[in-house]
């Protein structure tokens, strides 16, 4: 069973059918002038329109890129280029690596991280202090965090950025398709693979008022060489399908995660991370003392259960997860669940029934029996 859907959710039949239809009808190069190309272009335009509507954006200010990473790089570079003379970027300490790498690159290291509290909410006073210095090109603040699920209070964040006249770049790559789209942003990035669309596509929404310059050789083209037409079509259909079932799915995911949170909190030496209420409905991380993260994931994989991890032990760098470190959570023994609409109550029950024995076994193997 697949419980690691954060950032890459399984594709539904309807999405697969859309992808196939996109290949059959949209194989031609949308940039050319004949009938076949016009059909491909119409598919992309219709899909972009649907995506824009779901994001609360306008189609002509909604751009497609080759991946969420490429989207973040371009939006960061584009806004930075239009803010000449303001050469510092401010971001929360729990932004995605992709955001921080892009920001660090375009600002040549002039990047300030604003701390978050134990639940993962950005410290608003600290943010306002940073924005008060008139050298900020833009502020990057996530909507929902991909590891711990916490939703930022974007209304308060946007008050601070608007007061300082600093553009607000919102990373909504973990939240679109899992609840209402955020309203407070000047630029926003979304990831279709996170809502069950194909991987290899990123979406950028800009407000008409947000100034940006093409900081790349291809001018207004956000996806040099063009996007994969069937991927765009399938992304729009997948989001449409999610939004049609949004209320029911959200309530069910929220209930399942509530169950995981309350059950895991009862296990000895286990810490449940993130805001229990102001959070994404489908993401939860808990961390287990004295447990090796890699061993934990391998063991669950042998049991046929796919989960994610933010554990330092599972990465080649041995750097602890910045997100988990920023909220004071353990760097080891982490289990991150990303649920999707196909996850059943029974699957979650099976995981919860299995975990105490897995944790106890791994603690014994690590030479730490009876410590928790």
């Amino acid at each position: 069973m697949f419980l690691d859907a954060s950032g890459s959710a399984p594709l539904t039949n309807r999405t697969l059918e859309a992808f196939h239809a996109g290949l059959a009808d949209g194989w031609a190069d949308p940039a050319r002038l004949h009938t076949e190309s016009r059909r491909a272009r119409q598919l992309v335009d219709a899909a972009r329109e649907a995506l824009a509507e779901a994001l609360g954006s306008r189609p002509e200010h909604t751009f497609l890129a080759h991946s969420p990473h490429a989207a973040i790089e371009r939006v960061a570079a584009g806004i930075f280029a239009a803010r000449r003379g303001r050469d510092r970027i401010v971001a929360t300490a729990i932004e995605r690596d992709a955001t921080l790498h892009a920001a660090d690159h375009v600002a040549a290291g002039n990047l300030t991280l604003v701390p978050v509290d134990r639940l993962g909410h950005v410290e608003l006073d600290a943010l306002a202090r940073e924005l008060a210095v008139p050298d900020v090109a833009f502020a990057a603040v996530q909507h929902g965090n991909h590891e711990i699920g916490t939703l930022q209070r974007l209304d308060r964040v946007a008050e601070a950025t608007a007061a300082a006249k600093v553009p607000l770049l919102v990373d909504a790559t973990a939240s679109i398709g899992h609840g209402p789209a955020p309203e407070h942003w000047d630029a926003m990035v979304a990831n279709p693979a996170d809502w069950g669309g194909p991987a290899g596509l990123g979406v950028v929404a800009m407000r008409p008022r947000t100034r940006w310059l093409p900081a790349w050789p291809e001018g207004d083209d956000w996806a040099p060489g063009g996007v994969l037409v069937p991927a765009v079509l399938a992304a729009a259909v997948a989001l449409q399908e999610r939004l049609e079932q949004l209320d029911a799915t959200t309530a069910r995911m929220r209930g399942l995660v509530d169950r995981v949170r309350s059950t895991a909190a009862g296990w000895a030496g286990v810490d449940v991370v993130g805001d229990p209420n102001e959070r994404l409905p489908h993401v939860v991380t808990f961390s287990c003392l004295y447990v090796d993260g890699e061993a934990l994931l391998s063991r669950l994989d042998r049991e046929g259960i796919a989960v994610g991890s933010g554990s330092a032990c599972t990465t080649s760098t041995l750097e602890p997860s910045r997100v988990l470190a920023s909220v004071g959570a353990l760097s080891h023994g982490n289990v991150r669940l990303g649920l999707h609409p196909g996850v059943t109550e029974e699957q979650v029950s099976r995981l919860l029934a299995l975990m105490p024995r897995v944790i106890a076994d791994l603690r014994t193997e690590a030479g730490a029996p009876g410590l928790a």
């Binding site: 961390s287 032990c313 470190a325 004071g328 959570a329 080891h332 730490a368």
Partner: protein, 83 residues
């Protein structure tokens, strides 16, 4: 490596240099077992994940994290006070 705690006047040092997470925390927890409240334990770590894990351990187990300091060699010294 000898990881037995070195007893002092209410102070104990755990040498977890060279160990990767979660082993430093396991050594810390073993050392803490049976020691009285008020004892200060310093863990010497080279795996920098311990800088995150030792404070988190203290919070989760009801002890107090006092802070980190440099060591003579590589790594950091992280100190907790048992409650």
């Amino acid at each position: 490596m000898d990881d037995a705690p070195v007893a002092g006047a209410g102070r104990v040092t755990v040498d977890a240099a060279g160990l990767l997470c979660p082993l430093p925390i396991i050594e810390l927890a073993k050392a803490a077992r049976g020691l009285e409240a008020g004892t200060e334990i310093t863990v010497i770590c080279t795996d920098l994940a311990a800088r995150v894990d030792v404070p988190a351990w203290a919070r989760m187990t009801g002890h107090e994290f006092l802070g980190e300091s440099e060591t003579d060699g590589e790594g950091v010294a992280l100190t907790v006070r048992l409650r």
